[in-house]
Symmetry: C2
Amino acid sequence: MVELTRKQREIQERTREILRVAKPILLAEGFQALTMDRVASRMEYAKGTIYGHFSNKEEIVLALALEAMRLRQKLFQKAASGTGLARRRIMAIGLASEFYTQRCTEEFQVEQWMRHSNIWDKSSSDRQTLIRNCESSCMQIVSELVREGQAMGDLPTLERMSAEEMVFGLWAITFGSQILTASSPSLSALGIIDPIRSTRIHCCQLLNGFGWQPIHSVEEYLELVDEISAEYLPQFEQIQREYR
Amino acid sequence: MVELTRKQREIQERTREILRVAKPILLAEGFQALTMDRVASRMEYAKGTIYGHFSNKEEIVLALALEAMRLRQKLFQKAASGTGLARRRIMAIGLASEFYTQRCTEEFQVEQWMRHSNIWDKSSSDRQTLIRNCESSCMQIVSELVREGQAMGDLPTLERMSAEEMVFGLWAITFGSQILTASSPSLSALGIIDPIRSTRIHCCQLLNGFGWQPIHSVEEYLELVDEISAEYLPQFEQIQREYR
DNA sequence: GTCAATTATTGACGCTCCGTCAGAATTTAC
DNA sequence: GTAAATTCTGACGGAGCGTCAATAATTGAC
Protein backbone atom coordinates (compact mmCIF):
# COMPACT_ATOMS: atom_id res chain seq x y z
CA MET A 1 0.00 0.00 0.00
CA VAL A 2 2.64 2.47 1.13
CA GLU A 3 5.47 1.33 -1.11
CA LEU A 4 5.01 1.54 -4.86
CA THR A 5 7.37 0.24 -7.48
CA ARG A 6 8.71 2.65 -10.06
CA LYS A 7 6.36 1.15 -12.62
CA GLN A 8 3.38 1.63 -10.38
CA ARG A 9 4.31 5.23 -9.82
CA GLU A 10 4.67 5.73 -13.54
CA ILE A 11 1.23 4.35 -14.11
CA GLN A 12 -0.23 6.57 -11.42
CA GLU A 13 1.48 9.55 -12.95
CA ARG A 14 0.03 8.64 -16.32
CA THR A 15 -3.46 8.64 -14.88
CA ARG A 16 -2.88 12.25 -13.90
CA GLU A 17 -1.41 12.96 -17.31
CA ILE A 18 -4.55 11.63 -18.99
CA LEU A 19 -6.65 14.01 -16.94
CA ARG A 20 -4.31 16.87 -17.78
CA VAL A 21 -4.75 16.13 -21.47
CA ALA A 22 -8.48 15.49 -21.32
CA LYS A 23 -9.49 18.55 -19.33
CA PRO A 24 -8.75 21.24 -21.94
CA ILE A 25 -10.44 19.20 -24.65
CA LEU A 26 -13.57 18.82 -22.56
CA LEU A 27 -13.63 22.48 -21.58
CA ALA A 28 -12.87 23.94 -24.97
CA GLU A 29 -14.75 21.59 -27.26
CA GLY A 30 -17.24 19.70 -25.14
CA PHE A 31 -17.83 16.10 -24.32
CA GLN A 32 -18.30 14.78 -27.83
CA ALA A 33 -14.90 16.14 -28.83
CA LEU A 34 -13.33 14.18 -26.02
CA THR A 35 -12.55 10.90 -27.78
CA MET A 36 -10.31 8.16 -26.54
CA ASP A 37 -8.44 8.14 -29.85
CA ARG A 38 -7.68 11.79 -29.45
CA VAL A 39 -6.49 11.49 -25.88
CA ALA A 40 -4.35 8.52 -26.87
CA SER A 41 -2.72 10.21 -29.81
CA ARG A 42 -2.02 13.39 -27.83
CA MET A 43 -0.37 11.31 -25.17
CA GLU A 44 1.47 9.19 -27.73
CA TYR A 45 0.08 6.03 -26.26
CA ALA A 46 -2.19 3.46 -27.84
CA LYS A 47 -5.87 3.57 -27.11
CA GLY A 48 -5.74 0.30 -25.21
CA THR A 49 -3.39 1.86 -22.70
CA ILE A 50 -5.84 4.64 -21.96
CA TYR A 51 -8.54 2.03 -21.46
CA GLY A 52 -6.28 0.47 -18.86
CA HIS A 53 -6.75 3.61 -16.78
CA PHE A 54 -10.35 4.52 -17.51
CA SER A 55 -12.84 2.06 -18.86
CA ASN A 56 -14.66 4.74 -20.81
CA LYS A 57 -14.55 8.45 -21.40
CA GLU A 58 -17.31 9.14 -18.94
CA GLU A 59 -15.02 7.88 -16.19
CA ILE A 60 -12.50 10.50 -17.19
CA VAL A 61 -15.10 13.20 -16.73
CA LEU A 62 -16.06 11.88 -13.32
CA ALA A 63 -12.43 11.71 -12.29
CA LEU A 64 -12.02 15.34 -13.32
CA ALA A 65 -15.20 16.19 -11.46
CA LEU A 66 -13.96 14.57 -8.29
CA GLU A 67 -10.82 16.70 -8.42
CA ALA A 68 -12.99 19.75 -8.93
CA MET A 69 -15.24 18.90 -6.02
CA ARG A 70 -12.27 18.37 -3.74
CA LEU A 71 -11.31 21.94 -4.46
CA ARG A 72 -14.82 23.08 -3.62
CA GLN A 73 -14.66 21.05 -0.44
CA LYS A 74 -11.39 22.71 0.58
CA LEU A 75 -12.86 26.17 0.02
CA PHE A 76 -15.86 25.24 2.13
CA GLN A 77 -13.63 23.88 4.87
CA LYS A 78 -11.58 27.04 4.92
CA ALA A 79 -14.72 29.15 5.18
CA ALA A 80 -16.18 27.00 7.94
CA SER A 81 -13.01 27.10 10.00
CA GLY A 82 -12.82 30.88 10.05
CA THR A 83 -13.48 33.22 12.95
CA GLY A 84 -16.70 34.66 14.26
CA LEU A 85 -20.15 33.31 14.86
CA ALA A 86 -21.69 30.51 12.84
CA ARG A 87 -23.81 32.91 10.81
CA ARG A 88 -20.74 34.83 9.74
CA ARG A 89 -19.02 31.62 8.72
CA ILE A 90 -22.02 30.42 6.82
CA MET A 91 -21.91 33.63 4.87
CA ALA A 92 -18.27 32.85 4.16
CA ILE A 93 -19.39 29.55 2.70
CA GLY A 94 -21.71 31.42 0.41
CA LEU A 95 -18.70 33.41 -0.69
CA ALA A 96 -16.68 30.24 -1.16
CA SER A 97 -19.36 28.96 -3.43
CA GLU A 98 -19.42 32.26 -5.29
CA PHE A 99 -15.64 32.19 -5.62
CA TYR A 100 -15.77 28.67 -6.95
CA THR A 101 -18.30 29.54 -9.63
CA GLN A 102 -16.68 32.84 -10.56
CA ARG A 103 -13.01 32.15 -10.26
CA CYS A 104 -12.71 28.40 -10.64
CA THR A 105 -14.75 28.48 -13.82
CA GLU A 106 -13.19 25.39 -15.27
CA GLU A 107 -13.89 23.28 -12.22
CA PHE A 108 -17.45 24.54 -12.08
CA GLN A 109 -17.88 23.64 -15.73
CA VAL A 110 -16.51 20.16 -15.17
CA GLU A 111 -19.05 19.68 -12.40
CA GLN A 112 -21.77 20.59 -14.88
CA TRP A 113 -20.61 17.90 -17.26
CA MET A 114 -20.64 15.38 -14.45
CA ARG A 115 -24.32 16.09 -13.82
CA HIS A 116 -25.30 15.10 -17.35
CA SER A 117 -27.19 11.87 -16.96
CA ASN A 118 -25.57 10.51 -20.11
CA ILE A 119 -22.22 10.77 -18.44
CA TRP A 120 -23.19 10.00 -14.87
CA ASP A 121 -25.05 6.82 -15.76
CA LYS A 122 -22.21 5.35 -17.76
CA SER A 123 -19.69 5.68 -14.96
CA SER A 124 -18.80 3.06 -12.42
CA SER A 125 -20.70 3.14 -9.17
CA ASP A 126 -17.41 3.34 -7.31
CA ARG A 127 -16.63 6.67 -8.79
CA GLN A 128 -20.21 7.78 -8.30
CA THR A 129 -19.92 6.96 -4.63
CA LEU A 130 -16.72 8.94 -4.26
CA ILE A 131 -18.45 11.96 -5.71
CA ARG A 132 -21.57 11.53 -3.63
CA ASN A 133 -19.44 11.34 -0.52
CA CYS A 134 -17.65 14.51 -1.43
CA GLU A 135 -20.93 16.25 -2.09
CA SER A 136 -22.49 15.15 1.16
CA SER A 137 -19.33 16.12 2.98
CA CYS A 138 -19.69 19.64 1.57
CA MET A 139 -23.25 19.69 2.74
CA GLN A 140 -22.33 18.46 6.19
CA ILE A 141 -19.92 21.32 6.64
CA VAL A 142 -22.84 23.66 6.27
CA SER A 143 -25.21 21.59 8.40
CA GLU A 144 -22.65 21.64 11.20
CA LEU A 145 -22.64 25.41 11.17
CA VAL A 146 -26.41 25.49 11.27
CA ARG A 147 -26.39 23.19 14.27
CA GLU A 148 -23.74 25.32 15.90
CA GLY A 149 -25.96 28.36 15.43
CA GLN A 150 -28.81 26.47 17.02
CA ALA A 151 -26.63 25.36 19.93
CA MET A 152 -25.46 28.93 20.54
CA GLY A 153 -29.05 30.13 20.59
CA ASP A 154 -28.58 32.50 17.63
CA LEU A 155 -30.81 30.42 15.43
CA PRO A 156 -34.16 29.28 16.82
CA THR A 157 -34.87 25.59 16.32
CA LEU A 158 -37.98 25.76 14.22
CA GLU A 159 -40.26 22.85 14.76
CA ARG A 160 -40.46 20.47 11.86
CA MET A 161 -37.50 22.16 10.18
CA SER A 162 -34.19 20.38 10.46
CA ALA A 163 -30.77 21.92 9.97
CA GLU A 164 -30.49 19.98 6.74
CA GLU A 165 -33.69 21.46 5.40
CA MET A 166 -32.35 24.95 5.96
CA VAL A 167 -29.17 23.99 4.17
CA PHE A 168 -31.31 22.64 1.39
CA GLY A 169 -32.80 26.10 0.95
CA LEU A 170 -29.44 27.84 0.79
CA TRP A 171 -28.08 25.14 -1.44
CA ALA A 172 -31.03 25.32 -3.80
CA ILE A 173 -30.91 29.07 -4.16
CA THR A 174 -27.17 29.20 -4.72
CA PHE A 175 -27.15 26.23 -7.04
CA GLY A 176 -30.24 27.41 -8.90
CA SER A 177 -28.85 30.90 -9.39
CA GLN A 178 -25.54 29.58 -10.60
CA ILE A 179 -27.08 27.22 -13.10
CA LEU A 180 -29.44 29.87 -14.38
CA THR A 181 -26.63 32.37 -14.65
CA ALA A 182 -24.43 29.90 -16.46
CA SER A 183 -27.10 28.61 -18.83
CA SER A 184 -29.13 31.72 -19.64
CA PRO A 185 -26.74 33.90 -21.60
CA SER A 186 -29.28 36.68 -21.86
CA LEU A 187 -30.05 37.11 -18.19
CA SER A 188 -29.39 40.82 -18.39
CA ALA A 189 -31.82 41.06 -21.29
CA LEU A 190 -34.41 39.59 -18.93
CA GLY A 191 -33.77 42.41 -16.46
CA ILE A 192 -31.34 40.66 -14.15
CA ILE A 193 -28.34 42.91 -14.20
CA ASP A 194 -26.29 41.59 -11.31
CA PRO A 195 -27.18 38.00 -10.50
CA ILE A 196 -24.49 37.70 -7.85
CA ARG A 197 -25.86 40.62 -5.89
CA SER A 198 -29.38 39.22 -6.28
CA THR A 199 -28.28 35.85 -5.00
CA ARG A 200 -26.61 37.43 -1.99
CA ILE A 201 -29.79 39.29 -1.18
CA HIS A 202 -31.90 36.17 -1.51
CA CYS A 203 -29.60 34.28 0.83
CA CYS A 204 -29.85 37.14 3.31
CA GLN A 205 -33.60 36.94 3.22
CA LEU A 206 -33.54 33.23 3.76
CA LEU A 207 -31.25 33.58 6.79
CA ASN A 208 -33.41 36.38 8.16
CA GLY A 209 -36.45 34.24 7.50
CA PHE A 210 -35.01 31.47 9.66
CA GLY A 211 -34.67 34.09 12.38
CA TRP A 212 -30.92 33.76 12.57
CA GLN A 213 -29.56 36.51 14.85
CA PRO A 214 -28.35 39.08 14.27
CA ILE A 215 -30.95 39.95 11.65
CA HIS A 216 -29.52 42.30 9.05
CA SER A 217 -31.19 44.67 6.69
CA VAL A 218 -30.29 44.00 3.08
CA GLU A 219 -28.01 47.03 2.98
CA GLU A 220 -26.17 46.02 6.14
CA TYR A 221 -25.91 42.47 4.87
CA LEU A 222 -24.38 43.49 1.57
CA GLU A 223 -21.79 45.59 3.35
CA LEU A 224 -21.01 42.77 5.71
CA VAL A 225 -20.60 40.37 2.81
CA ASP A 226 -18.06 42.68 1.24
CA GLU A 227 -16.19 42.84 4.51
CA ILE A 228 -16.16 39.07 4.90
CA SER A 229 -15.19 38.72 1.28
CA ALA A 230 -12.10 40.89 1.81
CA GLU A 231 -11.11 38.68 4.69
CA TYR A 232 -11.43 35.37 2.90
CA LEU A 233 -10.49 36.19 -0.66
CA PRO A 234 -6.73 35.85 -0.16
CA GLN A 235 -7.25 32.52 1.56
CA PHE A 236 -9.45 31.24 -1.23
CA GLU A 237 -6.91 32.36 -3.79
CA GLN A 238 -4.22 30.55 -1.86
CA ILE A 239 -6.22 27.32 -1.97
CA GLN A 240 -6.81 27.76 -5.66
CA ARG A 241 -3.08 28.19 -6.28
CA GLU A 242 -2.21 25.10 -4.27
CA TYR A 243 -4.68 23.10 -6.27
CA ARG A 244 -3.24 23.92 -9.68
CA MET B 1 -50.21 29.73 -45.35
CA VAL B 2 -53.77 28.97 -44.29
CA GLU B 3 -54.56 26.28 -46.85
CA LEU B 4 -52.50 23.13 -46.82
CA THR B 5 -52.63 20.38 -49.39
CA ARG B 6 -53.46 16.89 -48.23
CA LYS B 7 -49.82 15.93 -48.67
CA GLN B 8 -48.66 18.83 -46.54
CA ARG B 9 -51.07 17.86 -43.83
CA GLU B 10 -49.82 14.30 -43.97
CA ILE B 11 -46.27 15.48 -43.56
CA GLN B 12 -47.20 17.68 -40.65
CA GLU B 13 -49.00 14.77 -39.04
CA ARG B 14 -45.90 12.64 -39.48
CA THR B 15 -43.82 15.20 -37.66
CA ARG B 16 -46.13 14.73 -34.70
CA GLU B 17 -45.94 10.98 -35.12
CA ILE B 18 -42.15 11.10 -34.93
CA LEU B 19 -42.38 12.95 -31.65
CA ARG B 20 -44.91 10.44 -30.36
CA VAL B 21 -42.51 7.62 -31.17
CA ALA B 22 -39.40 9.35 -29.90
CA LYS B 23 -40.73 10.50 -26.56
CA PRO B 24 -41.08 7.12 -24.83
CA ILE B 25 -37.67 6.04 -26.07
CA LEU B 26 -36.05 9.15 -24.68
CA LEU B 27 -37.88 8.89 -21.37
CA ALA B 28 -37.42 5.19 -20.80
CA GLU B 29 -33.94 4.64 -22.17
CA GLY B 30 -32.28 8.01 -22.40
CA PHE B 31 -30.82 10.09 -25.16
CA GLN B 32 -28.26 7.63 -26.43
CA ALA B 33 -30.97 5.04 -26.99
CA LEU B 34 -32.82 7.50 -29.18
CA THR B 35 -31.32 6.68 -32.57
CA MET B 36 -32.62 7.77 -35.91
CA ASP B 37 -32.51 4.18 -37.17
CA ARG B 38 -34.70 3.12 -34.32
CA VAL B 39 -37.24 5.86 -34.80
CA ALA B 40 -37.32 5.11 -38.51
CA SER B 41 -37.84 1.41 -38.11
CA ARG B 42 -40.56 1.90 -35.49
CA MET B 43 -42.36 4.23 -37.84
CA GLU B 44 -41.77 1.96 -40.82
CA TYR B 45 -40.16 4.74 -42.76
CA ALA B 46 -36.62 5.03 -44.04
CA LYS B 47 -34.10 7.02 -42.11
CA GLY B 48 -33.85 9.63 -44.83
CA THR B 49 -37.52 10.45 -44.38
CA ILE B 50 -37.01 11.19 -40.71
CA TYR B 51 -34.12 13.44 -41.61
CA GLY B 52 -36.56 15.32 -43.80
CA HIS B 53 -38.38 16.35 -40.64
CA PHE B 54 -35.53 16.79 -38.18
CA SER B 55 -31.99 17.32 -39.25
CA ASN B 56 -30.65 15.46 -36.24
CA LYS B 57 -31.87 13.75 -33.14
CA GLU B 58 -31.12 16.73 -30.94
CA GLU B 59 -33.77 18.65 -32.87
CA ILE B 60 -36.28 16.01 -31.90
CA VAL B 61 -35.47 16.56 -28.25
CA LEU B 62 -35.85 20.30 -28.57
CA ALA B 63 -39.14 19.88 -30.36
CA LEU B 64 -40.36 17.71 -27.50
CA ALA B 65 -39.06 20.25 -25.05
CA LEU B 66 -40.95 23.05 -26.72
CA GLU B 67 -44.18 21.09 -26.40
CA ALA B 68 -43.38 20.50 -22.74
CA MET B 69 -42.67 24.15 -22.11
CA ARG B 70 -45.91 25.18 -23.73
CA LEU B 71 -47.68 23.06 -21.16
CA ARG B 72 -45.74 24.76 -18.40
CA GLN B 73 -46.63 28.10 -19.90
CA LYS B 74 -50.33 27.23 -19.92
CA LEU B 75 -50.21 26.21 -16.28
CA PHE B 76 -48.51 29.46 -15.41
CA GLN B 77 -51.07 31.45 -17.36
CA LYS B 78 -53.91 29.72 -15.59
CA ALA B 79 -52.34 30.44 -12.22
CA ALA B 80 -51.71 34.07 -13.09
CA SER B 81 -55.23 34.64 -14.31
CA GLY B 82 -56.85 33.41 -11.10
CA THR B 83 -58.59 35.43 -8.45
CA GLY B 84 -57.24 37.35 -5.51
CA LEU B 85 -54.29 39.59 -4.95
CA ALA B 86 -51.05 39.31 -6.85
CA ARG B 87 -49.33 37.58 -3.96
CA ARG B 88 -51.95 34.88 -3.89
CA ARG B 89 -51.60 34.35 -7.63
CA ILE B 90 -47.85 34.23 -7.42
CA MET B 91 -48.24 31.46 -4.88
CA ALA B 92 -50.47 29.73 -7.40
CA ILE B 93 -47.62 29.92 -9.89
CA GLY B 94 -45.40 28.22 -7.38
CA LEU B 95 -48.01 25.50 -7.21
CA ALA B 96 -48.19 25.34 -10.99
CA SER B 97 -44.46 24.77 -11.05
CA GLU B 98 -44.79 22.13 -8.36
CA PHE B 99 -47.59 20.45 -10.28
CA TYR B 100 -45.51 20.46 -13.42
CA THR B 101 -42.56 18.81 -11.72
CA GLN B 102 -44.63 16.32 -9.74
CA ARG B 103 -47.42 15.41 -12.08
CA CYS B 104 -46.06 16.18 -15.51
CA THR B 105 -42.96 14.15 -14.79
CA GLU B 106 -42.33 13.30 -18.40
CA GLU B 107 -42.42 16.86 -19.57
CA PHE B 108 -40.19 17.93 -16.74
CA GLN B 109 -37.75 15.21 -17.69
CA VAL B 110 -37.75 16.28 -21.33
CA GLU B 111 -36.90 19.81 -20.22
CA GLN B 112 -33.91 18.38 -18.38
CA TRP B 113 -32.65 16.71 -21.53
CA MET B 114 -33.02 19.94 -23.42
CA ARG B 115 -30.68 21.67 -20.96
CA HIS B 116 -27.83 19.27 -21.70
CA SER B 117 -25.29 21.32 -23.55
CA ASN B 118 -24.56 18.37 -25.83
CA ILE B 119 -28.10 18.51 -27.06
CA TRP B 120 -28.74 22.22 -26.92
CA ASP B 121 -25.62 23.14 -28.87
CA LYS B 122 -26.36 20.77 -31.73
CA SER B 123 -29.82 22.16 -32.37
CA SER B 124 -30.71 24.88 -34.82
CA SER B 125 -30.80 28.40 -33.50
CA ASP B 126 -34.39 28.73 -34.73
CA ARG B 127 -35.57 26.09 -32.35
CA GLN B 128 -33.40 27.50 -29.60
CA THR B 129 -35.07 30.87 -30.07
CA LEU B 130 -38.54 29.37 -29.84
CA ILE B 131 -37.63 27.80 -26.54
CA ARG B 132 -35.98 30.92 -25.18
CA ASN B 133 -39.09 32.90 -26.05
CA CYS B 134 -41.30 30.43 -24.27
CA GLU B 135 -39.06 30.53 -21.23
CA SER B 136 -38.95 34.30 -21.08
CA SER B 137 -42.69 34.39 -21.56
CA CYS B 138 -43.08 32.18 -18.47
CA MET B 139 -40.85 34.53 -16.60
CA GLN B 140 -42.75 37.58 -17.73
CA ILE B 141 -45.96 36.15 -16.37
CA VAL B 142 -44.37 36.18 -12.96
CA SER B 143 -42.73 39.59 -13.38
CA GLU B 144 -46.12 41.07 -14.27
CA LEU B 145 -47.55 39.83 -11.01
CA VAL B 146 -44.65 41.30 -9.11
CA ARG B 147 -45.22 44.63 -10.80
CA GLU B 148 -48.92 44.39 -10.03
CA GLY B 149 -48.08 43.83 -6.38
CA GLN B 150 -45.88 46.89 -6.46
CA ALA B 151 -48.57 48.95 -8.17
CA MET B 152 -51.14 47.91 -5.57
CA GLY B 153 -48.78 48.93 -2.79
CA ASP B 154 -48.65 45.43 -1.27
CA LEU B 155 -45.04 45.03 -2.26
CA PRO B 156 -42.63 47.83 -1.47
CA THR B 157 -40.41 48.83 -4.40
CA LEU B 158 -37.02 48.13 -2.93
CA GLU B 159 -34.39 50.37 -4.31
CA ARG B 160 -31.91 48.69 -6.62
CA MET B 161 -34.10 45.57 -6.76
CA SER B 162 -36.17 45.13 -9.88
CA ALA B 163 -39.23 42.92 -10.25
CA GLU B 164 -37.17 40.62 -12.42
CA GLU B 165 -34.57 40.20 -9.74
CA MET B 166 -37.22 39.09 -7.29
CA VAL B 167 -38.49 36.62 -9.84
CA PHE B 168 -34.95 35.44 -10.26
CA GLY B 169 -34.89 34.54 -6.58
CA LEU B 170 -38.12 32.58 -6.70
CA TRP B 171 -37.10 30.97 -9.94
CA ALA B 172 -33.69 29.99 -8.61
CA ILE B 173 -35.04 28.43 -5.46
CA THR B 174 -37.77 26.49 -7.21
CA PHE B 175 -35.53 25.41 -10.03
CA GLY B 176 -32.64 24.59 -7.72
CA SER B 177 -34.82 22.53 -5.41
CA GLN B 178 -36.35 20.64 -8.28
CA ILE B 179 -33.03 19.80 -9.86
CA LEU B 180 -31.56 18.74 -6.55
CA THR B 181 -34.61 16.65 -5.76
CA ALA B 182 -34.52 15.02 -9.16
CA SER B 183 -30.79 14.37 -9.24
CA SER B 184 -29.97 13.48 -5.66
CA PRO B 185 -31.75 10.19 -5.09
CA SER B 186 -30.66 10.05 -1.49
CA LEU B 187 -31.99 13.39 -0.36
CA SER B 188 -33.82 11.78 2.53
CA ALA B 189 -30.59 10.10 3.59
CA LEU B 190 -29.13 13.60 3.84
CA GLY B 191 -31.90 14.61 6.22
CA ILE B 192 -34.27 16.26 3.77
CA ILE B 193 -37.48 14.37 4.29
CA ASP B 194 -40.00 16.51 2.44
CA PRO B 195 -38.31 18.68 -0.17
CA ILE B 196 -41.61 20.06 -1.45
CA ARG B 197 -42.57 21.36 1.96
CA SER B 198 -39.08 22.79 2.41
CA THR B 199 -39.28 24.56 -0.91
CA ARG B 200 -42.65 26.04 -0.04
CA ILE B 201 -41.23 27.37 3.21
CA HIS B 202 -38.22 28.87 1.49
CA CYS B 203 -40.45 30.63 -1.01
CA CYS B 204 -42.54 31.98 1.86
CA GLN B 205 -39.46 33.39 3.48
CA LEU B 206 -38.35 35.00 0.27
CA LEU B 207 -41.75 36.67 -0.19
CA ASN B 208 -41.77 37.80 3.41
CA GLY B 209 -38.25 39.06 2.96
CA PHE B 210 -39.36 41.26 0.08
CA GLY B 211 -41.94 42.67 2.48
CA TRP B 212 -44.86 41.51 0.40
CA GLN B 213 -48.06 42.12 2.41
CA PRO B 214 -49.73 40.33 3.99
CA ILE B 215 -46.74 38.77 5.72
CA HIS B 216 -47.51 35.20 6.78
CA SER B 217 -45.96 33.03 9.40
CA VAL B 218 -44.67 29.77 8.00
CA GLU B 219 -47.58 27.87 9.53
CA GLU B 220 -50.16 30.24 8.08
CA TYR B 221 -48.42 30.17 4.76
CA LEU B 222 -48.41 26.39 4.54
CA GLU B 223 -52.13 26.30 5.31
CA LEU B 224 -52.81 28.96 2.72
CA VAL B 225 -50.82 27.04 0.13
CA ASP B 226 -52.94 23.99 0.75
CA GLU B 227 -56.08 26.06 0.33
CA ILE B 228 -54.85 27.59 -2.93
CA SER B 229 -53.76 24.18 -4.07
CA ALA B 230 -57.25 22.79 -3.62
CA GLU B 231 -58.61 25.64 -5.73
CA TYR B 232 -56.21 25.26 -8.63
CA LEU B 233 -55.57 21.54 -8.74
CA PRO B 234 -58.65 20.67 -10.81
CA GLN B 235 -57.81 23.41 -13.28
CA PHE B 236 -54.24 22.23 -13.62
CA GLU B 237 -55.43 18.69 -14.15
CA GLN B 238 -57.80 19.91 -16.82
CA ILE B 239 -54.94 21.61 -18.67
CA GLN B 240 -52.86 18.48 -18.39
CA ARG B 241 -55.67 16.39 -19.90
CA GLU B 242 -56.17 18.80 -22.78
CA TYR B 243 -52.48 18.63 -23.53
CA ARG B 244 -52.29 14.87 -23.91
C1' DG C 1 -56.04 8.47 -69.74
C1' DT C 2 -51.20 9.54 -70.74
C1' DC C 3 -46.84 11.22 -69.72
C1' DA C 4 -43.33 14.43 -68.36
C1' DA C 5 -42.08 17.24 -64.47
C1' DT C 6 -42.00 17.63 -59.79
C1' DT C 7 -41.77 15.97 -55.28
C1' DA C 8 -41.12 12.38 -51.82
C1' DT C 9 -38.87 8.19 -50.18
C1' DT C 10 -35.39 4.87 -49.80
C1' DG C 11 -31.44 2.44 -47.93
C1' DA C 12 -26.63 1.53 -49.05
C1' DC C 13 -22.50 4.03 -48.17
C1' DG C 14 -18.63 6.51 -46.07
C1' DC C 15 -17.30 8.11 -41.90
C1' DT C 16 -16.22 8.43 -36.92
C1' DC C 17 -15.87 6.60 -32.63
C1' DC C 18 -16.32 2.94 -29.23
C1' DG C 19 -14.40 -0.88 -26.63
C1' DT C 20 -11.88 -5.44 -27.21
C1' DC C 21 -8.26 -8.67 -27.46
C1' DA C 22 -4.59 -11.55 -29.61
C1' DG C 23 -0.13 -10.91 -30.04
C1' DA C 24 4.27 -7.97 -29.65
C1' DA C 25 7.29 -5.59 -26.56
C1' DT C 26 9.10 -4.77 -22.23
C1' DT C 27 10.08 -5.64 -17.48
C1' DT C 28 10.89 -8.56 -13.64
C1' DA C 29 12.58 -12.48 -11.10
C1' DC C 30 15.77 -15.86 -10.62
C1' DG D 1 20.67 -15.08 -19.81
C1' DT D 2 16.13 -16.54 -20.02
C1' DA D 3 11.47 -17.69 -18.78
C1' DA D 4 7.38 -15.83 -16.69
C1' DA D 5 4.73 -11.92 -15.85
C1' DT D 6 3.32 -7.62 -17.00
C1' DT D 7 2.35 -3.91 -20.04
C1' DC D 8 1.33 -1.98 -24.46
C1' DT D 9 -0.40 -1.97 -29.12
C1' DG D 10 -3.41 -1.07 -32.98
C1' DA D 11 -6.32 -3.67 -36.11
C1' DC D 12 -10.98 -5.08 -35.84
C1' DG D 13 -16.09 -5.67 -35.38
C1' DG D 14 -19.95 -3.12 -34.33
C1' DA D 15 -23.11 0.93 -33.92
C1' DG D 16 -24.82 5.07 -35.23
C1' DC D 17 -24.65 9.41 -37.91
C1' DG D 18 -25.86 12.05 -41.89
C1' DT D 19 -25.74 11.98 -47.17
C1' DC D 20 -27.23 11.33 -51.71
C1' DA D 21 -27.93 8.89 -56.05
C1' DA D 22 -31.45 6.07 -57.41
C1' DT D 23 -36.26 4.86 -57.28
C1' DA D 24 -41.13 5.60 -56.52
C1' DA D 25 -45.15 8.32 -56.14
C1' DT D 26 -47.79 12.37 -57.20
C1' DT D 27 -49.30 16.12 -59.84
C1' DG D 28 -51.33 18.60 -63.50
C1' DA D 29 -51.26 19.91 -68.54
C1' DC D 30 -53.08 18.23 -72.58
